[in-house]
Point group: C2
């Protein structure tokens, strides 16, 4: 599942996707018992399958692979815990008290399909499921579990994780960079660092990659939000302006935002630490760059075709 | 803070309360940084302070103490993680799509005070904070972290934790015992077992104590819900009937429910495994029994004074 169907994922990404889907299915099968409330389980599945681009778990597994991946069950758990937390945040973000979104990935949002109470609970249960995945896999690698948990919590909770990022929307004043770093960047940092930790490697050198990719992802999202009509992104365009959210496309203009996106992706590529798989990792980042904001869209913006669309 | 101000807590409970409040404050101070969204932090604090009876963390620490408590930072983390998860569930349960409650513990509920978006996020952030507490303390006792996490997840998530319990309210059919076990019992079981695990002891013998206390607590809650006017419990009475929730007081009648409560508390006392502090632990359970449903209330019900109140 890619936002841009015409771009083929690079070699290796397909097998990673398969790993992620299988690990997610396996995690669900562990908690989907005869004694579980059927509608809750259905709402949880609806939030996770079919997935979006699965960018974060792919990033996590890519880093784990670059670091040797000597504990693949643990890196799988790290990857899916981050995806489950991401899905949980989408379910809650879509609810009427936030974005009030009817559609997500071309399907009804969880509260539209199952009602608000189950959407609220499905989000909660997905957060817990994420930690459950880590706990189960962590039994075999106890020394890696605590740092893994900490990095995942850091990416999701207070003071600077995605929940805090969303909470900045409820504050009278917020700096754009602080908002974006928390709302998107933190979980990307968690993704790269968790991949390293799961493979028993120091996560620090991988932090910058997550940071740059996270910000680039947010900038691309802001650009696509404004360009909505030109690129199919499966959600109504112009939501940021509609909800009064900070947006780099509004701050810098489309051309400025595209330039900033290019700088961030270059910084991401440069940041990949020395490791046997450095070149492969850099290629993957390049492919991600194309997926986030295809060359043809960038050129279109450079030609000024889209500029008048900015209100 | 006790539901029944005239009952003095037994020796040892006061110091446990202090330990719990201090550990909670310390955990908040770790995430309350200059970079955290101030209103989110305020909403999270509002959900946790001042607390209710703190029954679950007390139970957790009591079991840890009975088991030797050789890792007090870890048992503190276990105790507060359970309390934070409990508080998170109250915040979400109170929201308009569930109970739509205005008042909790005599104060406005989180969504009444801070609005729905921040209530939703505060609940999420409290769930994550709970795991953060375990991760931080778990660094020193890595072998105990995975089982501790698993028992806490079991008590809160799908298929049989408190989130699943709440989700049973969204199903067309549910068995009373299954609903109550998930909605209340699971977190009590997690409390006793987590106390044992934090102290490096096999949790299995402590499971039944949590099970009995959890069910007794739910039965007492059902009784108090019906008796609302006679006993001040800080929330509107008769909510169960109003929301069409399963209730043992409705199923068994008040007198039957009180008898069942007595049986459960006796079973709880009998279940305390052999350990040096067995007698002290049994006294604590007895005190808890009095706190949950004071003798004078039981006598009142036995005399049939309350019976006509049942519609």
């Amino acid at each position: 599942m890619s936002h841009f169907g015409d771009i083929k994922p690079p070699e290796g990404l397909m097998s990673m996707n398969l790993r992620i889907e299988q690990a997610l299915e396996q995690q669900f099968s562990r908690v989907h018992t005869a004694g579980s409330p059927p509608r809750l389980m259905a709402a949880m599945r609806h939030a996770v399958f079919p997935g979006g681009a699965r960018i974060r778990p792919q990033l996590c597994l890519a880093v784990a692979t670059a670091c040797g991946d000597d504990a693949s069950a643990l890196s799988n758990a790290a990857a899916i815990s981050i995806e489950l937390l991401h899905c949980a945040s989408l379910v809650h973000d879509d609810m009427p008290c936030f974005d009030d979104a009817d559609i997500r990935r071309g399907l009804p949002t969880v509260h539209k399909q199952f009602g608000e109470p189950l959407a609220l609970l499905a989000g909660d249960a997905l957060i817990i499921l994420a930690y459950q995945a880590l706990a189960q896999a962590g039994t075999r690698w106890p020394q890696r579990l605590a740092p893994l948990l900490q990095i995942v919590c850091e990416g999701t909770g207070a003071p600077e994780g995605i929940v805090a990022g969303q909470a900045w929307e409820c504050e009278p004043k917020v700096a754009l960079s602080q908002y974006q770093r928390a709302k998107t960047g933190a979980l990307f940092v968690a993704s790269t660092c968790a991949g390293a930790i799961a493979a028993g490697v120091d996560p620090q050198p991988w932090r910058r990659l997550g940071d740059c990719l996270g910000e680039a992802y947010q900038v691309a999202d802001d650009i696509r939000d404004v360009m909505g009509q030109a690129l199919a992104i499966g959600k109504p365009q112009g939501q940021d302006a509609h909800h009064g959210r900070p947006s780099s496309a509004a701050d810098l203009g489309l051309v400025g935002a595209v330039n900033y996106f290019r700088e961030l992706m270059q910084a991401a590529i440069d940041s990949v630490p020395a490791c046997p798989a450095r070149t492969a990792m850099q290629k993957l980042v390049l492919a991600e760059s194309e997926r986030l904001l295809p060359q043809h869209a960038r050129e279109q913006i450079a030609r000024g075709v889209m500029e008048p669309g900015l209100a």
